[in-house]
Amino acid sequence: MLDQTQQALLLQTRRKLFGYACALCSDVSAAEDLYQDTMVRVMTARTTPDDSAGYSLWLFRIMRNLWIDRLRAEGRLPDFDDSAEIEELPQSHGGDQVVNALAVRQAFAKLSKSHREILALVDICGFSYAETAQMLDVAHGTIMSRVSRARAALVMQMQEQENVIAMPLRRSARRFGEGG
């Protein structure tokens, strides 16, 4: 049973939860399934955290655990390689480069699961590094490096679509539709 505070928190958080699900899953249908599964788990939980911050983390952790359970069942667990160092961010191409939403989203969809997840938690869901570290049960510095690597990968992906990102949004959509 959820009390009124928890209901309000769930209401506030559900959009971010679904955003997280979309980031974790490869397609919207799978994200919807994950979101619904999470809701069922949340609402049938016997115990819930008392404080609002803990409750929010708990919601996302339930979703993440369900996601990992699914991947484990499919033998597709993501590899979180925290050992690699990144020396520099990929060089931008210079000029009046426009980072448009379409390009970012397309590039984001091509990232690895672990990269999508960390960016989802920090950028989409708005968690701090400390909260993310608590949720993933890793050190604060690990989050810092994962975020850097994920963003570097995102920039790399976007540069592979340079004809899309190096132009204003309205023109880019038209050009992209023409196949570049």
Partner: protein
């Protein structure tokens, strides 16, 4: 001497995660290095775009149909949606009903009836169910579908504005249970036990006030508390709102 800013620092700076002294160091470096400034700006823009994901993203809706493929999951999703909406909309705490599988069957049954419902003339209520008639008549609903299943009897009612409402009555030896309702814009559901019967009411796209009033009226009728019938019918008639569909 020019400070060396690592990618970790730059990202943490963009995320507002650096302590003040380190953030000042990065800010100074950005101010004096156009290339670093460009990278920081790019990170800021990417972060902003990703942050806008959730505002643009439509939340999953309650399922409108139950396709053959993945039907079992759709039933579960429907149940979750109903329960979620109930929890989010209700002003008082609500516990999850224990009989979820039966609930899902009812919703599927309701949807099957909706998908196959054509213009049907009104039919008479069977013997023993006449007590339903005054409530439904006051609500502007007419019985157009009657199906005797193995467990439950399915009553399908039609309103003047495309409203469709299902009432399932099952013989059930269980103690009386008060009216439970889950109301969302997409699905409305009510359930109660009374007099050795289990009652379940389902509609889609019916005005919540109207659905709640009909459910309350039926629940009271099923308890055979007829003392205040006049007042109850007046209340129901006053709630004759059009269907949203």
């Amino acid at each position: 001497m020019k400070a060396t800013i690592t990618p970790y620092q730059l990202n943490a700076f963009v995320d507002g995660e650096l302590p003040a002294d380190e953030a000042a160091l990065v800010a100074t470096a950005i101010a004096s290095d156009p290339e670093l400034a460009q990278r920081a700006a790019q990170l800021h823009r990417m972060k902003a775009v990703l942050g806008s994901f959730v505002s643009d993203m439509p939340l999953p809706e309650a399922p409108q149909a139950i396709p053959r493929q993945r039907r079992a999951w759709r039933k579960l999703a429907a149940c979750a949606s109903i329960a979620a909406m109930a929890l989010l909309l209700a002003s008082t705490p609500i516990s999850i009903p224990e009989s979820a599988p039966a609930e899902l069957n009812r919703l599927a049954q309701h949807d099957r009836w909706l998908s196959g419902a054509g213009p049907v003339d009104g039919i008479a209520l069977p013997a023993g169910a006449e007590w339903i008639e005054p409530v439904m008549r006051a609500s502007g609903l007419q019985l157009v579908h009657l199906e005797q299943g193995q467990e439950a009897t399915h009553f399908g009612f039609k309103g003047p504005n495309a409203c469709r409402l299902s009432l399932f009555i099952t013989a059930a030896e269980m103690p009386s249970a008060p009216l439970w309702m889950a109301l969302s814009a997409d699905i409305q559901q009510a359930r109660w036990h009374s007099g050795g019967y289990s009652f379940e009411m389902i509609a889609r796209d019916m005005a919540m006030t109207r659905f709640a009033t009909v459910a309350t009226g039926l629940q009271q009728g099923s308890d055979r508390h007829e003392k205040d019938q006049g007042m109850r019918l007046a209340l129901i008639q006053s709630a004759r709102l059009p269907c949203l569909a």
